[in-house]
Structures are given as C-alpha cells and as structure tokens.
C-alpha cells in the first residue's frame, strides 16, 4: 500500500514523540499489569502462614458470623465471608474499621475471626498482604505519587499516556502499511542493529495490535470515566437517572435474622450454575439497604470484574437483586459492556488467558523498551571511517539513561519488595509498612545509578541487579523451607510455587539480557550510546582502534 511521503513524515513525528513521552510510563504499566494477572498467587505467596483452624462446617461458619456481628459493630457496616480459603485468607470472616478509600493504606489493619478448638470465637488482628495492591497501584499510576481529588494523580498521567499510546499505535500502523508485506515477520539480524530492533519492534507491535488497541482505549476510559460520566450527566442525561439504585428495604435489618451463609451460597449457585462462589461481601446489614455481593468465578465465562463476576443478593430474604454483573444473565447493555472490562483484565478463559496476558504484558513492556532504543539509535551521530568518535548529543544520552534507570528500576523495585517481605518477617517486621520505602528506594537508586554510570554500563549492571533480585525470590523461599529458624516460610500450593518458578525464569531472562548488553557494549559500534566508550572519556584511543577490527 502506497502512502504519500508527507503523510508518513508527519506520522513518523507523531509516533516517535508520542512513544518517547509515554514509553517509560507504559513500561511500568505493562510490567506491573503482567504481574497483576497473578494477584492472588502473589498475595498467597507473600502471606505468612497462620495456624489454620480445621475447616468449619456451614453451621459453624454461621456461628462465626453471628458472634462477630454481635460483638463488633464495625463488621455490621461491612464484612467479608471467605468461601474459598487460601494462604492469604485463612479465616472465614474478616472486616476492618472504616471504609477503604481509593488510595492504598499501608497501615491497614483488619480483623479475622474463626472458631478455636473449643468452638469459641477467636478473633485476631491481622495486616493482610498489600503486595498485589502495591503492584496494581504501580500498574495504574506508574508509581507517580500524589493525589488529585479522590484519585491518584498518576492515574490521570497514565490516562494521558494512554492517549499518546493510542496515537502511537495509529501512527505506527500508518508507518508500517507501505512495507507491511515486505517487513512483516522479517527479523533481519545482520550487521545493521537498528534494522534488527526495528524488525523486533514491528513484530511485537503488529502481532499484538488488537491487544494494544484494547488496552490503550480502556486505559483512557479507566483514567477519565468520572469525567466522562460527569460530562454525560451534564449534557445528555441531565435530571434523568443514569444508574438504577438497588431497591430500598424500609425496615432496617436485624443482624440476628440473617439467612445462613450456606443458604445464600446455595441461592447464588442456583442462579449461576457452573460458577464457584469465592466470597460474600456483606454491606450495611443493619442499614435500610442491606446487600450481599457474591463473587463468582468461572474460567469459561467473560466476567466483568478483574477476577470474578458478581451476583447481588438481599441477605435477609435471599432475593437476587441484580445479576447484571453475572455473565450471560445481565441485560443486553451490561452484557455489551462486560467485554470491555474483561478484555483489559484478561478475566476470561481462566488461567490460560491469564498466562497469555502475562506474556502479552511483558511483550508490551519490551515494545516500549525497544521503541526507546530505536529513538536513541536513530539520533546518534555516526563515526566516520577512521575518524574520531563524535560527541553524542546530550539528550540522547539522557533519554538512554532514563530509559534504562526507570524501566529496570521498576522491575528491581518490585522484586525487592517481594524479597523484603519475607526477610522483614524474619526480623519480626511487617512488609506492608515498608513497601513504599523499599520500592522507591530501589527505584530511585537505579535511576540515579543509570545517570551516574551512563546507559551502557548501567544497562548491563541494572540487568544483573534485576536478575539477582528475581533469583532472590525463589532462593528466599528455599531458605525459608530449609531453615525454619529463619522464621520465614515457603508455601507449597501450586499457585505459590508458580510464583517462585516464574521468578526463576525471569531471573534467567534478565541474566541473558545482561550478557547480550555486555557483549554489545564491548563489541558493538563504538559510536553508540550502548558502547562502553561513550560512557568513559569520549575519545578513548582504544575504542577508536577497535572499530577497525
């Protein structure tokens, strides 16, 4: 397909500037997003084992609920009944004081309740793992601190990055169209390094284009949905209601007359055959509008939440109030909206799709990384044959350092948080309080390192740091399992072992990338920002000689 050169020139500019402005933020978004595919295994991996009570019979669970509601007024506002119990949710009932806001509360304290050996209520104060929430926050904000209104400021920045990302996609496709057939799947690994990176960049982009279009559009919506709804309310709907509130039961409920939880689960299962009920969230049981939000999971359905669909019930009558978030049973409109969410969250097709999204997420991160590399390579001054090394423009060196520091810093920071969680426990500290410190300390240290050492050395060294951090994750688990005196642990459920195994694989990938970067720095063209010579004295005589060989 032929496209006029003036159009190509303009879209080339859109592509490079959109990409370079949003690339690093999108790298963090994609790397964090890939990890959030396995939020639950991550939280299970990092949750210290507790002495788990023997499984309770349904009647015993109902007794826990009744006793908790009688003794703890905060639970009457909201509590969770964990039907599916894992390492991170060992007790059947948990609640917290006050509402949780949009921001992560790293000091969050919850209570959990079960029955002790004598059948009496046993309540314990716990700090639930916030690791997955931390990663999710980094995914949504890029780690940009601060709030704007009730929302993280970083979410809006990420929304703008989403706009630039979409523009970069459109312009990237426009640029590729004229040579699509010729270039598609041609990975030319010859002498021309730039060609190789461009081919790799194009293959990554084109093969996952639908995924990227979906992600960019949903990022824009997730960032600005409040503004979109406000706009629609002001100009389109005006006094008409945009949402139907759940029915009001005029008589405030009496918490002692709640239906047994097992009965609610039974009704949900009747309504949603083939789904697993994972938890019941009770809200305002003594208010005029008591509801239970039952989370239902199924690998075979497109669900609207990040992990589950929902059924809304009335906890006193067991009436089903809403199935609009239950796959296949909402009305046409909610059924048409569900895929938008599911396509972003990868919450369809069970574990297979989660792994697929994990790979796409990492590939996306690689797309932005290679994009930045291309930008840098394109702007370097070439060395004339037998000429001296040209001084490279400062801005390419700075962008190169920033790319290396920010991208690899976010990876090392997240890895360090995971490792720190178990070691802090060994020293009787709780990781939640330390997560922000650990993440930002490592992240900023990596960025500083990248600027101090220059992109070529720092790229290699930070890749080694990422590999070591990733390797420390399974090593810590092994240490916890072998040396109980360390007061650490290693869970043995497949999901948590998967976390260790994945970290091991990633450690191998980072080590391999570090080797490639080292070879590149030593043997690649000396006039590249990725060559050792550029970092050292600009015209190191050795490097000049090396070019001829």
């Amino acid at each position: 397909m032929k496209i006029r050169s003036d159009i190509l020139r303009i879209y080339q500019a859109v592509h490079t500037w959109g990409g370079i402005c949003a690339g690093m933020l999108l790298f963090i978004g994609f790397f964090g997003g890939a990890l959030t595919m396995f939020k639950e295994p991550l939280d299970r991996w990092v949750s210290a084992p507790t002495v788990s009570a023997s499984p309770l019979a349904p009647a015993q669970v109902d007794k826990v609920v009744a006793d908790v509601l009688a003794a703890y007024p905060a639970a009457r506002e909201e509590f969770t009944l964990h039907v599916a119990r894992h390492e991170n949710t060992p007790a059947p009932v948990s609640w917290q004081a006050g509402e949780s806001g949009h921001e992560i509360d790293f000091g969050l304290v919850r209570w959990q309740a079960t029955l002790d050996g004598q059948g009496a209520l046993a309540v314990e104060q716990v700090k639930p793992s916030l690791l997955a929430q931390l990663i999710d926050m980094l995914h949504r904000t890029g780690g940009i601190p601060g709030t704007l209104g009730e929302e993280y400021f970083g979410i809006y920045v990420m929304g703008v990055a989403g706009v630039l990302y979409f523009l970069a996609l459109v312009s990237g496709v426009v640029l590729l169209l004229p040579t699509l057939v010729k270039d598609f799947f041609a990975l030319r690994a010859g002498k021309n390094r730039k060609r190789f990176w461009l081919d790799a960049h194009n293959i990554l982009g084109i093969t996952s284009l639908p995924f990227h279009i979906v992600i960019s559009l949903t990022v824009v919506v997730f960032a600005f949905h409040d503004q979109f709804y406000d706009g629609l309310r002001g100009i389109v709907y005006r006094e008409r209601p945009m949402f139907v509130p759940p029915a009001i039961h005029n008589v405030p409920g009496d918490a002692t007359k709640l239906l047994p939880a097992s009965e609610l689960v039974r009704r949900v299962q009747q309504q949603a055959p083939g789904f697993e009920v994972t938890e019941l969230l009770y809200m305002g049981v003594e208010s005029p509008r008591p509801i239970v939000r039952a989370a239902v999971a199924s690998p075979r359905h497109v669900v609207q939440g990040a992990e589950t669909g929902f059924v809304i019930l009335q906890p006193y009558t067991g009436d089903i109030l809403s199935t609009s978030m239950l796959p296949g049973q909402g009305n046409t409109w909610s059924a048409m909206v569900a895929p938008f969410f599911a396509l972003h969250f990868g919450s369809y097709g069970g574990v297979t799709v989660r792994w697929l999204y994990f790979v796409f997420g990492l590939a996306g991160a690689a797309l932005f990384y290679t994009g930045n590399l291309l930008w840098i390579e394109k702007r370097r001054k070439n060395q004339l044959k037998n000429g001296p090394l040209p001084a490279q423009p400062l801005r390419t060196a700075l962008i190169a350092s920033a790319t290396v520091g920010v991208c690899l810093g976010s990876v090392a920071g997240i890895g360090a948080c995971m490792v720190a969680a178990k070691w802090l426990h060994a020293f009787n500290a709780h990781a939640n309080d330390a997560y922000p410190t650990v993440y930002y300390a490592i992240f900023l240290a990596c960025v500083a390192w990248a600027f101090a050492r220059g992109a070529a050395r720092a790229g290699r060294e930070l890749l080694v740091a990422c590999a070591v951090t990733a390797l420390a994750i399974p090593v810590t688990s092994v240490a916890g399992a072998l040396v109980p005196a360390l007061n650490m642990w290693a869970h043995t459920s497949p999901a948590t072992l998967g976390v260790d195994a994945t970290a091991l694989v990633l450690a191998g990938l980072f080590a391999w990338a570090a080797r490639l970067a080292a070879r590149r720095a030593a043997q690649g063209p000396a006039d590249s920002v990725w060559a050792n010579a550029t970092d050292a004295a600009q015209a190191a005589p050795e490097a000049v000689r090396k070019v001829g060989t």
């Binding site: 919506v221 629609l232 709907y237 938008f340």
Partner: protein
C-alpha cells in the same frame, strides 16, 4: 473525510500545523465524541430509558475521540482541521439538542 480533499490537491504537501491539528483532535475530537455518544443515548436502540445503557454510552466516548484524534493529522492544514471538526461539532450538537428535546 480528508481522502477526498487529498485528491483535489495531489501535489500540495500536507502541512504539519502541530498546534492547530493537535488542538482540533484533542478538544474538538472530544466534544464531538460526547455529542455522538449523547445522540446514541437518546436516539439509539432503546432510547434514553434502559438501565445500564449509560455505561455503554460512556464507553463510546473514548473510541470515537481517539479515532478522530488519531487521524486528525491527515487534514491538509490546521485551519481545515478546525473548520471540518468545528462544523461536525455544530452538526452533532445541534442534532443532540434536537433529539434530547
């Protein structure tokens, strides 16, 4: 919208006009998307009443806005982008006020 304009003046290269076109795509693209979503809300299937339709209407805004924004640099000049998108906005908003009553 710009393909036919391109035919008339095959030789004149497109001017980048970064400020004008980017403004047209970012702002006029957004207002156009709101108006089109609003028209769909009132005149589309089911009218304004169905519960949960507002969610779908909200989801329409970003794709329309982004599509306009993505292709706005195909206009021959920033002025033409402003004129065409401004005109489309007038039309869409007029239609919205008409169907909204």
């Amino acid at each position: 919208m710009s393909a036919e304009m391109g035919d008339k003046t095959k030789r004149a290269p497109i001017r980048p006009d970064w400020w004008g076109k980017t403004f047209a795509g970012a702002v006029l693209g957004a207002t156009l998307a709101f108006a089109l979503a609003g028209i769909f809300a009132w005149a589309g299937p089911g009218g304004i009443a169905p519960p949960d339709k507002s969610q779908f209407v909200m989801w329409l805004i970003a794709p329309v806005w982004m599509t306009v924004f993505g292709f706005v640099w195909l206009f021959r000049s920033g002025m033409l982008a402003l004129l065409w998108l401004g005109g489309a906005n007038l039309l869409a908003w007029g239609l919205l006020f008409l169907v909204r009553g």
